[in-house]
Symmetry: C2
Subunit: 228 residues, 2 copies
DNA sequence: ACATCGCCTATTGTTGACAATCTACAGCCC
DNA sequence: GGGCTGTAGATTGTCAACAATAGGCGATGT
């Protein structure tokens, strides 16, 4: 009756979820331009499936917010405005702050496990920074924050953050601003990790806030500092 | 070219959205028991439509989290555990706190408009309390908080909160604990409104936290006080 | 020349039928 | 009698055809 070793329970709901995940990955990687239309039929034939599951996947991404649907016109890739960036990062700050509190309240064990996962991600990130693989860096950046939130164990918080992470990747890639301060990127995440590990609650909150603020400034270009 | 008065733009996406809204309302009103299965076919015939739109609506509610889908088994009404209640209210606190900050930062005008809407809701709530219409009270309770969050104008925050509000109504009604402290219910919301109007940021945050904490205690019955 | 009206096409929205899958129950073997 | 296996029923998952709608484009009238 124990869990059979070496065997995986075959995925609960394959097709639509599979298509949605695949499509989301493509979108956040910028393989679809913002505002570009996504055709159900052609996608269905590309995936050798029917319009049904494709439609289901598209609707799912619409509800996540990375696609927008216009009645009888089709679905289009979300176009991000400055306001959207501010919204996304404001919510991210709220979610991560909440996750931080929950994590610190959950006990040392949970913090330790989370830190271990985060360390591995930072390590990978450093490698990708060395070879300047922006796609991978963006993915790991979001993976870091997603793992951070996941550490709190609040399923609703995790679900919410998944969407935010996808939108953030769209911000980063679509606006083509990329990471202007790549040299401090790993350092900033390491700082978050250190504060979490040390259990400095207030400092961690401040660091999260700063992290988000600087990200918004980088993305919107509204930083007050003047270019030399 | 101005907005035509007295005319409403016919809703962008009717059927599926319509079904979803209708169904969500029925669910949060407890017309479907937790764990109860929802059959696509019978629902389709009840609504005189096909399974397609119904399926779409159900999937939407699954993603919102008030239904759960088991592969090849069907969709079932979410069963809420104690842990879910804690999760929901933890996220609600985070969202409302964020909304409060955003609202106070947005300026006096926006705060005023929001307060006006909240006043009207409190007024309605007092009326329903007088006649002990629990359904209406729960609806207005959530409407208050939803309007509060909506006041901040962050579309993502609003979208997130919609789901939380629905889940909260399920908590309240399904657990049949209702409102044990109905006498102070209006007063508590009035207090939130007053603090918002006065712009007392810190006090407002504390009040929101208390509001959520007491709600969790009422719902989980883990209040330390012993029954006389 | 410009605005308006009507068709036309491309795409989604909807429908009913078909196939795959899961649970439950009954029969059978041990 | 207990446990396993095979079948039956029901329900979802998938599919291809049909209908409806929105926007584009050209004709037409002023």
């Amino acid at each position: 009756m124990a869990a059979p070793e070496g065997l995986f329970a075959l995925e609960g709901r394959p097709t639509a979820q599979l298509i949605a995940d695949q499509l989301r990955e493509q979108i956040v990687q910028g393989m679809f331009r913002p505002g570009e239309q996504i055709n159900e039929s052609v996608l269905a034939s590309q995936l050798s499936t029917s319009r049904g599951p494709v439609r289901e996947a598209l609707q799912r991404l619409c509800q996540e917010g990375i696609l927008v649907s216009r009645r009888n016109r089709g679905v289009f890739v979300l176009e991000l405005a400055m306001e959207d960036i501010r919204e996304i990062y404001a919510v991210r700050e709220a979610v991560e702050s909440t996750a931080a509190d929950a994590l610190l309240d959950a006990g040392q064990e949970q913090v330790k496990d989370t830190c271990q996962a985060l360390k591995a991600i930072i390590s990978d990130m450093a490698k990708q920074v060395a070879v300047s693989d922006w796609q991978a860096i963006a993915r790991l950046d979001m993976q870091f924050h997603t793992s951070f939130v996941a550490g709190a164990g609040n399923t609703r918080l995790i679900r919410i953050y998944k969407t935010l992470a996808a939108e953030s990747r769209m911000c980063i890639l679509n606006l083509a601003v990329a990471y202007p301060r790549i040299d401090v990127l790993v350092q900033e995440h390491q700082n978050l990790l250190d504060l979490l590990e040390a259990g400095h609650r207030e400092e961690l909150h401040k660091a999260i806030t700063r992290h988000m603020e600087t990200a918004v400034e980088d993305l919107t270009g509204t930083a007050e500092e003047v270019i030399p």
